[in-house]
């Protein structure tokens, strides 16, 4: 339960306070230590020859000339690595009927997408490895490429991979019953076909890995730019047959991840084998072109959906068909079916309607694999439902906000369950919407919009309510047989000088994980946060845990730290009581000093307690236990997920002559429960919004009919930049989860979840005087001019 965590005016009350990130200082000084920066003695560099075809059979590989070139130490093929590494299949048991082709680090017979790594070259420098790659001759026999999602599902269609019976990876169906009758009898039905482009994470630091196999110890050390070091420790151990304790994965500073850096990549698995074959450290840093054709992509959905409404403007039902294309196999170990699954389960989640039917088809095609990237499935579910809500409002002649006010789940209706089976503990949709309306000055914006339309200026206002999944329990992956932990662990120790070291399994990629963990530990112990050192990202120095994904760092990692700190505090006060011959309950710790609870009188410092415990244990009473190190694990209990909620508003101006859109401003009201550090939460939300706006207006992996990515460079794939992005106003409602003492839920995906939906509604609102509409993102000028009938 949520006992109050303390007022902010106490010393060391850090929970809820905006404080800067201690670990940001070295990044500002150019002293970050990223995997791309690391150099080990005798380190070699890997490059890969890649397939020019989307689908082909490997006929022969001639690497004779390459092997003799300057600096080249190894050329390895799929067959070479298959002798070391066991294959993997990206399915989960709880996705019934799911299938996928078996994968190896490098293909032995068949390439499945254009850009797939085929041959590895290891040389003294990256440039030499690239020189050698140019000298390798691979003969391919081109096979038919599967690119169209409808053609792929026809009987007798060409298969994306020879190891699968057909191109349907996974299908799922939800049906509460009677949907056709409800639609037949509804006062209003709106429907639309939506298209969501493929996009990709484009972390500024590309994927980077440095594997170091030491045969003398039988030990593998992998410096890996990943969110999830323990997951990879397990995978490298099992697929290369190395005892788990002999595999160390270190994740130092990481230049962005957003979900992209927790999947198995063929090159990464290969690099481990390359190091074993060379007996030397081998480094691979994907260059930007390689990143575009090998990092996971995401989204790529076509959704046909309709919504039924009664005469009072109450939503009655939704009926949804989602087809999503994922690449030629399912990503390992988290699969490529989770996004589609979340699309159909999150659809309309903020609303109180009870009737729902959905069909999901997850389809193979010969493109880069798709998988989990920030806000998995959320933006699609949100955009479809929110656009239909706006269409329904227009049909009923209601203001979009009024329609939402009627239909959002009431704030006093919890706990409750969605028609798709999600259990909601407590959300604040209506309060959030009211707050957003005030924050935007909604009524004034509408008045201004009407006045400007008279002058030929076309502004649009879009609203989007959302639900976000955070703090996942084992219901996410563990239940499906994946060795992906939903729990976290922390080891907390008082050092001999009275400082505190916290080794914890959650990881840092810049979002501020280490900072909030430090805040929680300092707050709960009662010491200055400058005296808490937080250590993350090393399987050899932290306990096993889930690390960072699905917005779990604050909620689960934070609760782990909180419980560990309380345990350590109990030990410290118990020892202090023994030293002082007092009762533990009469003591408290403030600013690193044990004090009397009643009057605050200082009794003994933590440093003194530590000195006695470590160096003068002879002076302690006989029965005193000096346990100044504690280990603690915490796994979510209670609700399978801690859902969060919020609502976003977007204000745009459409240049109707050119199809260009200027984003004027964006607003977010969100409820992530207990806020540990408002500064960091706001920046998570802002960054998330901009990724959503990128999807809405700019980002799309474009393919031609042969399965070739045609815009795979940072000059051609348009990411959002400073000039095009708006200032973003953020406000919060706090509804802590009662499942934990901390009460925190996730916030990292909230911005991305609804930004593109709000933008889609805003642009449609701006186009409404023209009788035009769009149901596709990104909303490019060309698409908008087509929608407007100009071209």
């Amino acid at each position: 339960m949520n006992a109050p965590l303390g007022a902010l005016d106490r010393p060391n009350s850090y929970i809820g306070r905006s404080v800067s990130r201690p670990n940001a200082k070295r990044l500002l000084a150019g002293k970050g230590r990223y995997v791309t920066d690391l150099v080990l003695p005798r380190m070699l560099h890997a490059a890969f020859l890649r397939s020019p075809y989307a689908h082909a059979r490997i006929v022969s590989i001639d690497a004779g000339e390459a092997r003799a070139m300057p600096g080249v130490r190894l050329v390895a093929t799929g067959a070479d690595l298959a002798k070391l590494c066991t294959p993997w299949v990206g399915t989960l048991d709880h996705f019934k009927g799911m299938k996928s082709a078996q994968q190896l680090p490098l293909p032995v017979e068949e390439v499945l997408w254009s850009g797939q790594a085929v041959v590895a070259i290891v040389a003294e420098t990256r440039a030499q490895a690239e020189d050698a790659a140019e000298a390798i001759v691979v003969e391919f026999e081109e096979l038919p490429a599967v690119v169209d999602i409808d053609a792929a599902r026809e009987a007798g269609a060409d298969r994306a991979a020879s190891g699968i019976a057909d191109n349907l990876c996974f299908a799922s169906r939800l049906d509460t019953g009677g949907i056709d009758e409800i639609f037949a009898g509804a006062a209003h039905v709106v429907e639309e076909e939506f298209h969501f482009g493929r996009h990709t994470a484009v972390t500024l630091e590309p994927r980077a890995i440095l594997a170091d196999w030491d045969a003398s110890e039988g030990k593998l050390t992998v410096h890996h730019a990943t969110q999830t070091p323990y997951q990879f420790q397990d995978l490298y151990s099992r697929h290369y047959g190395i005892p788990e304790a002999n595999v160390r994965v270190v994740a130092p500073d990481i230049g962005g991840s957003f979900g992209m850096k927790l999947h198995v990549y063929h090159e990464d698995m290969a690099v481990v084998g390359l190091s074993m074959l060379c007996g030397r450290p081998v480094k691979f840093v994907a260059d930007r072109l390689e990143a575009f054709v090998s990092d996971i992509h995401a989204r790529d959905h076509r959704v046909r959906a309709r919504m039924a409404m009664d005469t009072e403007g109450m939503i009655l039902a939704m009926d949804v068909d989602d087809v999503t294309a994922i690449g030629a196999f399912s990503t390992y170990p988290r699969t490529s079916a989770v996004e589609g699954n979340q699309v159909i389960r999150l659809m309309g989640a903020p609303y109180s309607f009870r009737n729902y039917r959905a069909e999901l088809s997850v389809v193979f095609q010969n493109k880069v694999q798709t998988s989990q990237y920030r806000a998995v499935g959320h933006p699609i579910a949100c955009a479809v439902a929110e656009r239909l809500v706006d269409m329904a409002a227009a049909r009923a002649g209601l203001d979009p906000v009024s329609l939402r006010e009627k239909n959002l789940i009431a704030d006093d209706a919890y706990p409750c369950e969605s028609p798709t089976g999600y259990k909601f503990e407590a959300l604040s949709h209506r309060k959030s919407l009211a707050r957003l309306k005030a924050l935007m000055g909604y009524d004034a914006l509408r008045a201004e919009q009407a006045a400007l339309r008279e002058r030929g200026i076309h502004r649009g206002i879009g609203i989007a309510s959302f639900v976000e999944i955070s703090n996942p329990s084992p219901a996410f992956y563990g239940i499906g047989g994946a060795r992906i932990s939903a729990q976290d662990g922390a080891v907390l120790a008082v050092t001999p000088s009275g400082d505190v070291r916290c080794q914890i399994s959650v990881t840092e990629q810049g979002q501020g994980t280490e900072t909030i963990i430090g805040q929680i530990v300092a707050d709960q112990l009662g010491i200055a946060r400058e005296r808490v050192r937080v250590i993350t990202g090393d399987t050899e120095n932290t306990p096993h845990g889930g690390a960072t994904w699905a917005c779990r760092g604050a909620g689960i990692g934070g609760e782990t730290a909180l419980q560990a700190a309380r345990k350590l505090r109990e030990n410290v006060l118990g020892l202090a009581a023994a030293i002082l011959q007092a009762r533990p309950g009469d003591l408290d710790m403030r600013d690193g000093v044990v004090v009397d609870v009643l009057n605050g009188a200082e009794r003994v410092s933590l440093a003194e307690i530590a000195r006695i415990a470590y160096f003068r244990s002879d002076t302690l009473p006989k029965d005193a236990s000096a346990q100044l190190t504690v280990a603690h694990h915490y796994a979510p209990q209670g609700y399978p997920f801690a859902f969060t909620n919020g609502v976003q508003g977007c204000h745009v101006e459409l240049d109707a002559e050119t199809g260009f859109v200027k984003i004027l401003k964006h607003w977010v009201v969100e409820d992530c429960g207990r806020i540990i550090n408002p500064l960091l939460v706001d920046e998570q939300v802002r960054g998330g919004v901009v990724q959503g706006l990128g999807a809405a207006f700019f980002e799309e992996c474009r393919y031609d009919e042969n399965g070739q990515l045609t815009n795979g460079s940072l000059a051609d794939y348009l990411v959002p930049m400073a000039c095009e992005m708006p200032d973003i106003v953020i406000a919060h409602i706090e509804t802590p989860t009662a499942d934990t003492a901390l009460g925190a839920k996730g916030c990292g995906e909230a911005g991305t979840a609804a930004a593109s939906a709000a933008a889609l509604n805003a642009v449609n609102d701006a186009m409404s005087p023209f009788g035009a509409s769009i149901a596709q993102i990104p909303m490019t000028p060309t698409r908008l001019l087509k929608a407007l009938g100009t071209i």
């Binding site: 800067s20 940001a24 500002l28 002293k31 630091e205 802002r686 919004v689 940072l714 400073a722 000039c723």
Partner: protein, 170 residues
């Protein structure tokens, strides 16, 4: 000859001579030969801005110039700007405002910011965004960066001296 050639240049105030392969970019030279890994490479084609360094006082992409071209020139990297305390106020403002997350773009952003404020004492938010038009940041959404630069412009205009940043406790 494609073999390494000796080049002499000034880096962060120190004149040094090294052998560099003609095909080695300045960014790779700084990172690999001099260990100045604060200069990052994010695209190697002059689009992302992570490799910006000052070349004879103006920001250029370290990935779009070969080290041999920089022979005789003066280069300042984020390490040099940082150690000379020239950007201490920028670093402080970025830290306070949390105008960085993963930090990979940050050195390039700081180089741009320092150059902008040297040319224009009180830029508008639009001008700040325009100056940043070649600095890609995937984490922050840019607003915090604009805020931090605006704050420094205001502080510098008010004559606030930049105190050192790095030696202070975090």
């Amino acid at each position: 000859m494609t073999a390494p050639v000796a080049i002499t240049l000034s880096v962060n105030g120190e004149t040094l001579t090294r052998a560099a392969e003609p095909r080695e970019t300045l960014a790779d030279f700084l990172r690999r030969d001099l260990g100045l890994t604060g200069t990052h490479t994010g695209c190697e084609m002059g689009v992302c801005g992570a490799c910006l360094v000052m070349l004879d006082g103006a920001p250029v992409h370290g990935c779009l110039i070969f080290a041999v071209q920089a022979a005789g020139a003066s280069v300042q990297t984020v390490e040099g700007l940082s150690e000379s305390a020239m950007i201490a106020d920028l670093q402080r403002a970025f830290h306070e405002r949390n105008a960085l997350q993963c930090g990979f773009c940050t050195p390039g952003v700081l180089v741009t910011a320092q150059w902008l404020l040297a040319r224009k004492a009180a830029p508008s938010r639009e001008e700040i965004r325009d100056a940043l038009s070649g600095n890609y940041c995937r984490c922050t959404g840019y607003e915090a960066i604009v805020d931090a630069i605006e704050t420094v412009a205001r502080r510098r205009s008010a004559g606030e001296a930049a105190s050192r940043f790095l030696e202070e406790p975090a």
